[in-house]
């Protein structure tokens, strides 16, 4: 989230699309109902189903799963053609006036530089035109045909309301109302917030869905402004924190990058990433990449990290390729993986194409499940009939189920979706023999090191180099680890005059204090300051809100540097004055930047300097035209890989042209002839993923897997309310009760009727709810081109009534 849960209350229009906040985040959704009740905000929801959020909405528009880009591009086109944009903002704070290199082009849905065999783009022609001064060439008049503005106008002109209706199935009038309400926030005194979740990310073109939304918000001048922003509603309690930590194949903590084979030395890694400003007077925060990286290496290898040995860079594993979760299971399926450790993870339920996942797990030598409760994955080898058709005798995997303490039995910090780090204290003793993850992993690490000390083996040096300097090596305390995350001075740090600014051993107050010479450590620069010299700020419980803007700046610690709204300098104009009193937030008081929030900016740089708000970008401004995207600098309507219709905008496009598909998965895509019905998966408010099916009270409130079907489809197929139905895709089948509802309606796509059904994902074969096959028995094994997020939200199935209880 660029903004925060509580900031939603400052919105004048709330747009929920690609998510269902009322269903998945009820307590955060409170701030939507507050915005409605307290300031008369209007809520609009765009979703294939009339869902719980829609039930609260002032306006609802249906949309066929997987066509969000067409819909959103339609809105962008509406804003551009009707000139409903916040001119001062767009002109100054985006790259709208930048010129793109000669030779950039777009045809039949493909940008220049496409290579069909490698399914990838050469981005050479997507770059800005650079002047002799090393800075980008701009056209403030926005009239140059190669200016981003003109390129956009041309690019989006095809997405007319008629086209939107044809492709997405949203009635023209309903679509236009959405566009108009969004446009109403192009004025300086009104803001719209966009809330999305996995309904946008879980597509083969997920990142481009979000690009569209970001572009809309930039055109409306709603990024960095209270009540605005683009807010990703994250799933797990600490998925934000764990993503920040970077337990992702290519990540280091704090969004630094893993070394790759092509970067043999630290220098070769760093030079690639030290982005220089491409406009005058910009700060480009990544200039400090080196400081963050070295400080991290000092935390990882301690005394073993020295200038001489590149601070231990060589100890780090280097990537030959990205082992994202889909590749992980594809390799496992090829029998190339020996062991898997699941820490609070249930892949048999959560990874696409369950049959493939089950087969992959069966090829492991060993599987370890660390979890407070039994998971379906831990029992993948067990035969549960049609729900899990395994033959134990044929499966040679050794399986361990280790009892782990629950959230109530350990302390530590969580980082919520608003990037706010908050501490929790233990409430009970560990259940039975259960142990904390930290104890188990430390124990494991120490045992393995002992084995190497005893018998030797491969890769001993990097293993032994890992710093393990804890009071109790078998159980490092949460406090110690939190301090490591923040970082400290290793020697007395001095300023230019040689004055000691931070004594050796003291915690760092901000990442500004980090050094690249090995004199500071710190795992996670974005968290630096959360456990500074003044104590653990995650434990702060002051819930006062002096500004009255629902900021709560003294509650916990919001990274980076306790900022509650990112890019908040953009809430003021070029002179540093708020765009309007209604949205007064961060401003220049003549000497410093200040206001309701911590400025996301160097507080002493005066507006005259012309330093721009988007300090993480070398441009200093935000990108309407984004070359780094793998699948194009501008969004393009792409159908899901399984779609009931061909791409009506660009008939030549099949799915996302650069999305990676493994061969054996390409073969099991279904076609619209055998599988004419669109299906989508989603969570239920009564359940959380696959845990709560084992929680009695939640099982009571939603006891059994079901399939949501429109009255029209039910009539067509002779399906009775409460009767059993079979749903099958080209990969597998599931059976469940039919919930026949008015909340789903068939779509008219290019004159043809397309049905859509809904499949809740929370059920399985372990727990208290009625047994069900994993919903991912149906889903396709293909990921987004940028993020490799599987395409769970749009695929093809067929459905039929079967004998079974009719309630």
């Amino acid at each position: 989230m660029t903004n925060s849960w509580t900031d939603i209350k400052n919105a004048d229009v709330v747009w929920i699309m690609g998510g269902n906040a009322a269903e998945a985040h009820p307590c955060g959704f409170k701030w939507v109902t507050e915005a409605k009740a307290e300031r008369g905000a209007r809520l609009m929801v765009v979703d294939p189903r009339f869902n719980r959020s829609a039930a609260m909405a002032d306006h609802y528009s249906p949309i066929r799963s997987g066509t969000d880009i067409a819909f959103l591009s339609g809105v962008i086109n509406y804003l551009l053609t009707n000139d409903k944009i916040q001119h001062d903002y767009v002109k100054n704070y985006t790259n709208v006036s930048f010129l793109v290199k000669e030779g950039f082009g777009f045809e039949d849905g493909l940008f220049t530089g496409y290579n069909e065999t490698s399914r990838s783009y050469d981005k050479a022609t997507w770059q800005y035109e650079m002047g002799p001064d090393g800075f980008v060439v701009k056209d403030e008049t926005l009239s140059h045909p190669r200016s981003v503005y003109q390129i956009m106008k041309k690019h989006f002109s095809i997405y007319t309301p008629e086209m939107v209706e044809r492709v997405t199935g949203s009635p023209k009038d309903k679509f236009l109302k959405v566009a108009e309400w969004a446009a109403s926030c192009s004025t300086k005194d009104r803001t719209m917030t966009i809330m999305y979740a996995l309904g946008w990310t879980q597509h083969s073109h997920g990142a481009q869905n979000i690009r569209c939304a970001a572009m809309i918000q930039l055109l409306l001048g709603n990024i960095g402004v209270p009540g605005g922003g683009i807010n990703a509603l994250r799933g797990h309690s600490n998925v934000q924190g764990i993503t920040d930590i970077g337990t992702l194949t290519a990540s280091l903590p704090g969004y630094l990058a893993m070394p790759i084979d092509g970067e043999p030395t630290l220098e070769s890694h760093l030079t690639k990433r030290q982005f220089k400003p491409i406009q005058a007077n910009q700060t480009s925060y990544w200039q400090n990449y080196r400081k963050f990286y070295v400080s991290f290496l000092k935390s990882m290898y301690g005394a073993k990290a020295t200038k001489e040995n590149d601070f231990g860079y060589q100890y780090m594993p280097k990537l030959d390729l990205a082992y994202d979760v889909l590749r992980m299971f594809d390799l496992m399926h090829q029998g190339k993986t020996s062991g898997l450790i699941c820490q609070g993870f249930n892949p048999l339920m959560s990874v696409s194409h369950a049959a493939k996942t089950r087969a992959a797990l069966s090829k492991l030598k060993f599987l370890v499940s660390m979890d407070p409760i039994e998971t379906d994955t831990a029992r993948f080898w067990e035969n549960h009939g049609e729900f899990n058709p395994s033959d134990p005798a044929k499966i040679q995997t050794e399986v361990f189920m280790l009892p782990v303490t629950s959230f109530l039995e350990e302390e530590g910090s969580f980082t919520n979706s608003s990037r706010c780090v908050m501490w929790k204290w233990p409430a009970a003793d560990p259940y039975a023999e259960s142990r904390k993850d930290v104890e188990i992993l430390s124990d494991l690490f120490i045992r393995i090191k002992k084995l190497y000390e005893k018998d030797g083996g491969k890769g001993v040096e990097p293993l032994m180099a890992v710093d393990w300097n804890y009071k109790n090596p078998h159980d490092p305390s949460a406090d110690e680890l939190a301090k490591e995350l923040n970082g400290k001075a290793l020697v007395d740090l001095t300023d230019a005059e040689g004055k000691v600014t931070r004594a050796a051993g003291q915690q760092l107050a901000s990442f500004g204090e980090m050094r690249d010479d090995g004199t500071t450590d710190g795992v996670q620069w974005i968290y630096t300051g959360f456990y500074g010299p003044n104590g653990n700020f995650a434990q702060r419980r002051d819930n006062s809100d002096p500004s009255g803007m629902n900021v709560f700046g003294s509650w916990g610690f919001s990274w980076p540097a306790n900022r509650r709204i990112l890019y908040n300098r953009a809430s003021a104009d070029m002179q540093g004055k708020p765009w309007s009193d209604a949205k007064k937030y961060v401003l220049w008081d003549g000497k410093r930047w200040g206001g309701a929030d911590v400025p996301d900016f160097v507080p002493t740089i005066p507006p005259e300097r012309g330093t721009m708000p988007f300090i993480m970008n070398p441009e200093g401004v935000s990108r309407l035209f984004a070359a780094p995207m793998a699948d194009g600098p501008l969004p393009v309507h792409m159908e899901p890989f399984e779609s009931p219709v061909a791409n009506l905008v660009f008939p030549k496009l099949k799915g996302n042209p650069v999305a990676r598909v493994f061969k054996n998965d390409m073969e099991v895509f279904g076609n619209a002839k055998d599988f004419p019905i669109v299906a989508t998966t989603y969570r239920l408010v009564e359940h959380f993923h696959f845990w709560t099916k084992g929680v009695q009270k939640n099982a009571v409130t939603q006891p059994e897997f079901f399939v949501e079907i429109s009255e029209e489809l039910a009539r067509e197929k002779g399906i009775k309310k409460g009767g059993m139905v079979r749903v099958w895709s080209n990969r597998g089948e599931v059976k469940g009760k039919a919930v026949v509802t008015k909340r789903l309606k068939p779509f008219q796509i290019d004159g043809k009727t397309v049905h859509q059904i809904g499949l809740p994902l929370n059920f399985g074969f372990i727990g208290e709810t009625k047994k069900a096959a994993p919903i991912n028995s149906l889903t396709p094994f293909v990921g987004d081109a940028n993020a490799q997020t599987p395409e769970f939200k749009a695929f093809l199935v067929n459905v039929e009534p079967i004998a079974g209880p009719v309630a």
């Binding site: 409130t701 009760k737 026949v740 009625k770």
Partner: protein, 310 residues
């Protein structure tokens, strides 16, 4: 945002109301407490309800109730009805608004309405099995309940349920134990969108007005408060988008009142019945005094002998 009640304390606290605050007691005549405590009320704003069932779960949790895991019967309502363990239940209605043509998902939290004139209490034959406190809370006293189920017949909202396990009647207590220590009901505390708020009845009415104004501004011209006069008002009230037709909310009673049959049964019949029985007995008694016994005479015996002997 409505006033937030501070967190509960983890130390003993005296109940702030109790037996001395009764205004009604089933099958007993008591003198109502002179000074009523301010009437409390729970306001359920249907227009803010996302039907998440947090209230259902919070109710089970706080009251240590265990409901059994059922099945899906093609609807979201789970369990499918109130039970001795499910004291509150979300009821879902898909309503196609004929005027706007829009679909509306109307979700109503069902449960005891804590009527000012409680039919259950009227019907209850067991002294002190149902009580009403001066703050309006209607509570069942398990120790005195005999499980006859008369409360079910008395209730205009079909709320109480008799347990098959211990044959006692159960329903929402409005968390009298929480209210007694200055907390709101568990369901109200949990409700993510403040669709449930709790306070004095006056306060609730004021809050409801605010909500109704907002709803009218969004085109619900018939938005209104549900506080049915037929039962002299309730201590659980609804804000409805369509207050003109409560029935569309999963059959909420349009104009609830204690059934005339129950009134007749518990009113006239009770006294007339006893009177009639008394009179009959009295008649016999008087007749005996006046007419005296009807005895067989010797003459009768002779006649019988004569007849038999022939």
């Amino acid at each position: 945002m409505f006033t937030i009640i501070p967190n509960p304390q983890a130390k003993p606290i005296d109940a702030k109301f109790g037996d001395k605050d009764l205004i009604r007691r089933s099958a007993s005549s008591i003198t109502p407490v002179a000074q009523r405590q301010p009437e409390v009320a729970k306001l359920i704003d249907v227009s803010k309800c996302i039907g998440c069932k947090a209230c259902q779960v919070a109710c089970l949790e706080w009251n240590n109730l265990t409901e059994e895991v059922g099945v899906n019967v093609g609807v979201y309502d789970n369990p499918h009805d109130l039970t001795p363990n499910t004291w509150t239940l979300m009821r879902y209605t898909e309503y196609e608004n004929p005027e706007s043509g829009n679909l509306e998902w109307l979700i109503r939290k069902d449960g005891c309405m804590h009527c000012e004139d409680p039919g259950c209490l009227k019907a209850c034959p067991a002294p002190g099995a149902i009580v009403q406190y001066s703050n309006g809370i209607v509570d069942f006293v398990k120790a005195n309940c005999i499980g006859c189920g008369y409360c079910i017949k008395g209730c205009p909202f079909n709320i109480p349920r008799i347990s098959k396990v211990d044959n006692k009647a159960y329903k929402c207590t409005l968390c009298s134990d929480r209210v007694a220590v200055g907390q709101g009901p568990a369901c109200q505390k949990a409700c993510p969108t403040q669709a449930i708020v709790f306070g004095t009845k006056d306060e609730m009415k004021k809050w409801a007005e605010k909500r109704i104004t907002d709803l009218k501004s969004r085109g619900f011209k018939n938005a209104g408060l549900y506080d049915p006069p037929g039962v002299q008002g309730t201590h659980v009230m609804y804000v409805l988008q369509h207050a003109d037709k409560p029935n569309i909310y999963a059959g909420l009673a349009d104009n609830p009142r204690i059934s005339p049959i129950v009134e007749l049964w518990k009113g006239g019949t009770k006294y007339a019945g006893l009177a009639l029985i008394g009179l009959t007995a009295a008649f016999g008694f008087l007749h005996h005094i006046v007419a005296g016994p009807n005895r067989v005479t010797d003459h009768d015996e002779q006649e019988a002998k004569r007849l038999a002997g022939k």
